[in-house]
């Protein structure tokens, strides 16, 4: 086991990047590679990196993920006007939540709060994998591509709104709820105050010559809001999200340099570390491990996937959307969004051991596989051709081959 902090970070980062890149090359989500890197290096297999050493770094990663989500939130407002997307997104959330809730209730191994958090984690959808598939086929700019994305955004936004509500009712004694409501009041005052004043404040911030100073001040604001929400009894990552919403209104947030700075530090460092750490926390063996929990994991996966597919297929068909099979397949993926919900539940002490992560973990690679297979099946069924695919250009050509190539393509 590596005991040095710097070496632990370096090894985890390198392995995450390497596996993430391999998964990307095969058209899969890099996040699965990061998780697998953590699983390989962690206590279950190679025993090289101790999860507790990188835990604090991973927390900053979670804060940054939510901060970046907050920056994008402004863009989502337009989607609310799309009635079809709103109805599919909400039906998916409620229907899947109910189905997983009932299944877990029948299983009888979890308390009410654990069931609620689990059901929510399975009810939200992921946009990364379907977006990747649509892009790889050149089908994003189609009616069904747009419908799938819009329904997904609505599902995620409502899912995270429900999550905020849940944090209020965790540990529901009257005094605890009263304290949290007071906390919400204070935080809301601060949030809306900042929201209203941020443009004036940011004009002063924009006076700073260096973009680095603007970035630092934005990051300090986010960390401060994250700390404040934690001190008020909520999760820090909720504060980070609201921090992102506030910062998105600033003048400097609209500049390319700011976006590039955030992207580099998040996607290049903290995000792989966060998911790598999540992988480190995964256990293969023992009563809390993936193997011991594979049966409930597969049951929940089957319930969530079949419910989502039926709801999305039936509703798309009723709303006369083209290719309902493709839309239904694209809402099946479970990934980052659900992991963040479970992380928040772990942070709040809803789950006392790691079996929750072990039950959920198989859903990430399995749903990616299912959605990829269904895309192939429905493309064949509907006869959907890949759009805008480029002719492959051989990398090394002899001259006569090159002239043949030119002749063919000029013709």
């Amino acid at each position: 086991m590596i005991t040095n902090f710097l070496l632990s970070i370096a090894v985890l980062l390198l392995a995450s990047f390497a596996l993430g890149e391999v998964f990307e090359r095969f058209g899969l989500d890099a996040v699965i590679g990061y998780l697998l890197a953590g699983l390989l290096l962690g206590p279950s297999i190679l025993k090289l990196v101790n999860p507790h050493i990188v835990e604090d770094f991973a927390l900053v990663g979670a804060v940054l993920i939510l901060f970046m989500a907050g920056l994008k939130e402004e863009n989502a407002a337009q989607i609310y006007t799309n009635k079809k997307a709103v109805s599919i997104g909400i039906a998916l959330l409620l229907g899947t939540f109910a189905a997983v809730f009932i299944t877990l209730f029948i299983m009888g191994s979890f308390n009410l709060m654990q069931i609620i958090f689990f059901a929510l984690a399975f009810a939200v959808v992921d946009l990364g994998v379907p977006a990747k598939l649509f892009l790889s086929l050149g089908l994003l700019d189609t009616e069904y591509g747009r419908s799938a994305l819009n329904a997904g955004v609505i599902n995620i936004l409502f899912g995270f709104s429900a999550l905020v509500g849940l944090t209020l009712f965790f540990n529901p004694t009257a005094s605890a709820i009263a304290m949290k409501l007071l906390g919400i009041g204070i935080f809301a005052g601060l949030f809306f105050g900042l929201h209203a004043l941020i443009n004036k404040i940011s004009q002063k911030v924009a006076l700073f010559e260096s973009e680095a100073v603007q970035f630092t001040l934005a990051f300090v604001l986010v960390l401060f809001l994250a700390y404040l929400t934690e001190a008020l009894g909520f999760s820090s990552i909720l504060g980070a999200f609201l921090g992102g919403v506030v910062v998105a209104r600033t003048r400097f947030a609209s500049t390319q340099k700011f976006a590039d700075s955030i992207k580099a530090i998040s996607l290049g460092l903290f995000v792989p570390l966060f998911f790598g750490w999540f992988g480190l926390e995964l256990m293969l063996w023992g009563p809390e491990g993936i193997i011991a929990n594979i049966v409930p994991a597969l049951i929940l996966l089957a319930v969530a996937v079949s419910t989502k597919f039926i709801i999305a297929f039936v509703m798309s068909k009723r709303q006369k959307l083209k290719y309902p099979g493709i839309i239904a397949a694209s809402v099946l993926s479970l990934d980052v969004e659900s992991l963040v919900i479970l992380l928040l539940a772990l942070q709040m002490g809803v789950f006392v051991d790691k079996s929750a992560i072990s039950i959920f973990a198989p859903a990430v690679p399995f749903t990616t596989l299912i959605i990829s297979i269904l895309f192939v099946v429905f493309r064949k069924k509907y006869n959907i051709k890949e759009r805008g695919a480029k002719e492959p250009v051989p990398s090394s050509l002899h001259m006569h081959h090159y002239h043949k190539y030119l002749k063919k393509h000029r013709a």
């Binding site: 863009n75 990364g128 443009n199 390319q256």
Partner: protein, 144 residues
């Protein structure tokens, strides 16, 4: 070297204006003329953002070459609508870098240089009265 006495008023043009719901076809028609940046305003005349011809590239680049993170980010709480744009608001680069008519030219250049924007709306009484494009500024350079 530029004439430091010149201000935005001396070089600004009447802006080509669209509204957020205007279709892509209208943007294409405008960009066929000499303009390279379109100003987007709301019904009350308030400046919302700009669309440079560069922004329309998003509609042409092969989707296969775009990473999903560019489109949906990490958590899918919104996405870049530029790649599936239907109207001006989907392509618009929203910002609020504006200037008054008496802003000296070096200051306009500084805003464009620092903020990586290609046109600055000139605002008087909260309404857009003109626009200074990058090319207008370049014309002001007097160097042998």
């Amino acid at each position: 070297m530029v004439n430091k006495l010149l201000t935005a008023r001396d070089i600004m043009f009447r802006p080509k204006i669209v509204h957020p719901r205007d279709p892509i076809a209208k943007l294409k028609r405008i960009l066929k003329t000499t303009e390279d940046t379109i100003i987007v305003i709301n019904k009350r005349g308030k400046f919302l953002g700009e669309i440079h011809e560069y922004d329309l590239l998003k509609l042409i680049v092969p989707e296969q070459e775009i990473s999903e993170e560019e489109v949906v980010g990490i958590l899918g709480m919104g996405y870049d609508r530029g790649f599936i744009a239907k109207d001006a608001r989907d392509l618009m680069h929203a910002h609020d870098f504006v200037a008054a008519p008496d802003t000296p030219i070096p200051n306009l250049a500084l805003i464009m240089y620092k903020e990586e924007i290609r046109a600055i709306p000139i605002i008087k009484n909260k309404k857009v009265v003109g626009v200074v494009h990058l090319r207008n500024l370049i014309k002001c350079i007097h160097k042998p």
